[in-house]
């Protein structure tokens, strides 16, 4: 069918580069806005550009993480297998935005608040991790992301073996829960944003729980003795 041919060629030639640029777009936008701001031109970063940067990077990291968790359910529902080819790069993008989120917080908040002292910056980080629950949660989520990012290359998948790799990457579930809690504890009052993101995550996790339960209920094939 012609439609299938189009889809096949899209999957073969377009899916990966398009995903790459779609994932890069928020970062490019932010860089462009900072360029405008620093050159004194009108920009969209508002009256508190650092705050806006933190929120934007954090939102983007969390949303991309949720999208990476939606890939498998999407495949199951649509039976479109090629989508699996971009799952790792989506997850990796979540790591890069989370890393940028952390670097912005270190550089634009703690470093400046410490009067541009690196020692003061690390002291500030430790104080925040110990004293502020949302920072504790955010740092935990980021640290859990690191091994996943480090093993997201073909060579590492081969070296670990598919089973060990999969087991390691199951940690994305608790990590995503922690990331949502980080968001929830960060905002003041009882805001909708964390509930919406947490609700989407709950749906994605419930889907997996459903799949797991169904696989357990299926009668196991008995090995034939004859």
């Amino acid at each position: 069918m012609a439609k299938n041919a189009v889809l096949r060629s899209f999957a073969k030639d377009w899916l990966k580069p398009l995903t790459f640029w779609a994932l890069a777009l928020p970062g490019l936008w932010l860089g462009w806005q900072w360029g405008l701001l620093l050159s004194g031109a009108p920009h969209d970063l508002g009256f508190n550009p650092i705050e806006k940067t933190h929120r934007f990077l954090g939102d983007t990291a969390l949303r991309i993480l949720l999208i990476s968790l939606a890939v498998t359910p999407f495949r199951d529902l649509t039976r479109w297998l090629p989508i699996m080819k971009v799952r790792r790069r989506i997850g990796l993008a979540a790591f890069w935005y989370a890393a940028a989120h952390l670097v912005a917080y270190l550089g634009l908040d703690l470093y400046l608040a410490a009067g541009m002292s690196l020692t003061g910056m690390w002291a500030g980080l430790w104080e925040d991790v110990v004293k502020r629950i949302y920072i504790t949660l955010g740092m935990t989520a980021f640290i859990l992301l690191i091994p996943l990012a480090l093993t997201s290359f073909n060579a590492m998948v081969r070296r670990l073996g598919a089973r060990a790799w999969q087991n390691l990457h199951y940690s994305v579930y608790p990590l995503a829960v922690i990331a949502c809690l980080h968001y929830g504890f960060m905002v003041k009052g009882n805001q909708l944003g964390p509930w919406i993101h947490g609700g989407i995550l709950a749906l994605l996790l419930a889907y997996r729980a459903g799949v797991w339960i169904r696989s357990r209920m299926k009668p196991q094939p008995v090995a034939s003795t004859s």
Partner: protein
């Protein structure tokens, strides 16, 4: 010999913008506005105030006021930032939500209900609570608990003078303020971010302090809705959330009244909420603050009582301000 000791915050005469320059700036702004908005109509009175017939309260534009020596050594935050970057959760939790949605709020007619331990109670029209011919300008620093600050030229009247009109009795040890609530006009109150309506309070001696102020304007003009029109509290030695907006009720009470943020998260927000760089908030270090409108990297060290210690520290003599945060 009379030695006149200037107020601590008083700027030397040379640092004050001359009235001619100030008026000239306004003239320029008015001309710019007129060219941009009404060039063809030949509108030359962009700054003229629009008063409601009968009441005399200006509903937009310039307010009459006299200057005072309540000043801040730093430059005032640009008008666009003061009116475009707001926390007014009744209109949404985004910083630009109030500027976008607060115009839906009806601020005229406006009345304030006075309740509790006072001789004169009941419902009063705003024009009867505030003498619009006795307004003054005070430039105060506003320190938000989110670790940012602004410098704002408010127009208004001392809170103490307003409260005394109602003759509070000796049982009135605290005063509670309550914000307007209307789900139709305030889209943010349709979700339970806080327990609406917004409530705040002061101890009576805090309310009577010379710095406590009720603002009806800023930058010489009627308060924009997003800044708490038509009347809001300004207590500059406390975190911004104490400075309750769009007040419709004032209650004189004998016990510490309920306040919205304390009810929402008592560990984080106390009744006093004095600016205190030594008490780390569970969300933000309060040691320093971002200066809004002064470039993306501008910061300053946070001062105890937001720099107003000489005027207010006496209110808290002998109190543990970490415990009573």
């Amino acid at each position: 010999m009379l030695i006149k000791k200037p107020h601590r915050w008083q700027l030397p005469e040379r640092a004050v913008t001359s009235k001619a320059d100030f008026l000239n700036r306004r003239q320029i702004m008015a001309t710019v506005g007129a060219l941009g908005l009404a060039g063809l109509a030949g509108c030359g009175a962009a700054e003229e105030s629009v008063a409601q017939a009968g009441t005399g309260r200006p509903l937009s534009g310039a307010l009459p006021f006299r200057a005072t020596d309540y000043q801040v050594a730093d430059e005032s935050t640009p008008y666009e930032a003061v009116t475009g970057y707001n926390n007014f959760y009744e209109f949404g939790v985004g910083k630009d939500d109030p500027a976008r949605y607060a115009s839906a709020m009806t601020t005229d007619p406006w009345s304030i209900e006075i309740e509790g331990h006072a001789t004169r109670t009941g419902r009063f029209a705003l024009e009867d609570v505030v003498d619009f011919s006795a307004l003054e300008e005070r430039i105060y620093r506003l320190r938000c608990v989110e670790a940012w600050s602004m410098v704002i030229p408010w127009i208004g009247i001392p809170l103490g003078a307003v409260l005394r009109q109602f003759e509070p009795t000796s049982d009135a040890r605290y005063v509670q303020f309550i914000t307007y609530q209307d789900a139709g006009e305030m889209r943010g109150t349709r979700s339970a971010v806080l327990d609406w309506p917004y409530k705040e309070g002061l101890r009576m001696d805090e309310a009577m302090n010379e710095l406590a102020f009720l603002a009806v304007g800023l930058y010489g003009e009627v308060l924009p809705n997003q800044n708490g029109a038509p009347i809001r509290l300004v207590v500059p030695w406390k975190y911004g959330y104490k400075s309750i907006k769009s007040i419709v009720k004032i209650r004189f009470v004998s016990d510490e009244p309920e306040t919205s943020w304390k009810r929402s998260a008592p560990r984080e927000y106390g009744f006093y909420s004095n600016v205190n760089p030594n008490r780390a908030h569970p969300r933000w270090s309060q040691a320093s603050e971002r200066v809004i409108g002064a470039g993306p990297f501008a910061r300053r060290e946070t001062e105890m009582f937001n720099g107003y210690g000489p005027e207010v520290a006496g209110l808290y003599a002998g109190m543990d301000l970490i415990e009573n945060h």
